[in-house]
């Protein structure tokens, strides 16, 4: 698309923030700089820690959860004395299997998203209310 902005010159008033890739490189450079002044044994220890952390990154996911659900998960994990991520993984196995075998579906919960990336959104609020209602009935 043609540049239709008639400003004629980039407004340099809002240059706050840095490209995330540049920020990562700057942090990396900063870390190298700090580590270069450390004794050799500490440097290799830091390197091993970093490598371990990088290996973990392959399993890492960043998900947005409803705030109340996140809190409930944290409380449960604390109560059971387990990491939240392991608790979430434990809880997910069953519904994921059910969805793969079509025992459950998203039918009735999908609403049009209006964005190009995803066709649908899931009505989580409705699902949460239904789960609560079913729980009360069974009690």
């Amino acid at each position: 698309m043609k540049n239709t902005n008639k400003q004629g010159f980039t407004g340099f008033d809002d240059l706050s923030g840095v490209d995330p890739a540049v920020e990562s490189l700057l942090n990396q450079g900063q870390r190298r700089n700090v580590e270069s002044h450390l004794p050799k044994n500490l440097r290799s220890q830091r390197k091993k820690e970093r490598e371990r952390a990088q290996k973990r990154l392959a399993n890492r996911v960043n998900l947005d959860l409803p705030v109340d659900l996140k809190k409930r998960l944290e409380i449960l994990a604390k109560k059971e004395g387990v990491p939240v991520s392991q608790l979430v993984a434990f809880l997910l196995y069953d519904p994921v299997h059910q969805m793969e075998t079509r025992m459950i579906s998203l039918w009735g919960y999908k609403t049009s998203s209006g964005c190009r990336k995803f066709e649908w959104n899931i009505d989580l609020q409705r699902h949460a209310e239904e789960v609560l209602r079913n729980g009360e009935k069974s009690n």
């Binding site: 043609k2 540049n3 490209d19 700057l26 900063q30 190298r32 990088q54």
Partner: protein
């Protein structure tokens, strides 16, 4: 209507031609119709693409010749990438054009009817008439810079030129592209900090220093053809993702246009 991007820095040896050739060929590989215009008397765009130099630019712009656009555009070996070549005759062209009225609009006028998705200008490392004409014709300005003091000063000069033309140009800064980045040297790191502190979000992910850039141009091939996995394209390994490199810059520009 084409989106036009001028690649410009008054300092020489900062990677303007490599950037112009790599980005234009990268977009052509993505299916865009791209025209790359060489505004430099050194004619290195043709060399980098493995085609002979020619006085196409002079034939297009010289008032006594004024060949039609379609006659001066050459295809490259890449599908979707076309070039207007340049050579030493461009130096004479600048002298001829200095007597022409409204000369700053000359590129904008001749390329108005060009039927391409993207047009790139590879500018010469000097402040001259074609430099101004490129800024007037361009929608966006991309400023490659080495990470050393003198080249970073070139960024400031380029921005001043842009500011001085603001009455007749709608050109905006697409980004400042750090090139020849060496993540192990303190100087590269400090200059990148300096750039990021001064220009914030305008600073694009840097292009790693990579000998393959020089090797590719020696063979007259683009980096995509010569060594598609080289770090100048793919950037640095950073955990489970890559940082920097022309692929990431291509994505950033794609978001912009």
């Amino acid at each position: 209507m084409a989106t036009t991007i001028a690649i410009l820095n008054q300092k020489g040896g900062v990677g303007k031609t490599t950037t112009a050739v790599t980005l234009s060929s990268g977009f052509a590989r993505k299916g865009y119709q791209v025209l790359l215009v060489d505004l430099d008397t050194q004619g290195n765009v043709a060399d980098s693409l493995g085609i002979p130099q020619s006085d196409d630019l002079r034939c297009l712009l010289s008032p006594d010749l004024r060949r039609p656009l379609e006659q001066v555009i050459s295809p490259s070996s890449l599908k979707g990438l076309f070039v207007i070549r340049s050579d030493k005759s461009t130096a004479g062209l600048k002298i001829i054009l200095s007597g022409v009225t409204l000369r700053e609009y000359i590129l904008a006028d001749v390329l108005e009817a060009a039927n391409y998705d993207l047009i790139f200008f590879d500018c010469a490392p000097s402040v001259d008439l074609l430099h101004f004409a490129a800024i007037v014709a361009a929608d966006y300005l991309l400023i490659p810079t080495r990470l050393d003091k003198l080249a970073v000063n070139g960024v400031r000069d380029a921005l001043q030129t842009l500011a001085s033309l603001k009455r007749i140009s709608r050109c905006q800064v697409a980004g400042i592209l750090p090139t020849f980045y060496e993540r192990v040297t303190l100087e590269s790191h400090e200059q990148l900090i300096h750039l990021a502190q001064t220009f914030g979000r305008l600073v694009l992910p840097p292009i790693p220093q990579d000998t393959q850039c020089r090797v590719a141009s020696r063979f007259g091939k683009t980096l995509w053809e010569h060594e598609p996995n080289t770090k100048a394209l793919t950037g640095y390994d950073h955990g489970n993702r890559r940082i920097g490199g022309y692929i990431q810059v291509l994505e950033r520009i794609q978001e912009l246009i």
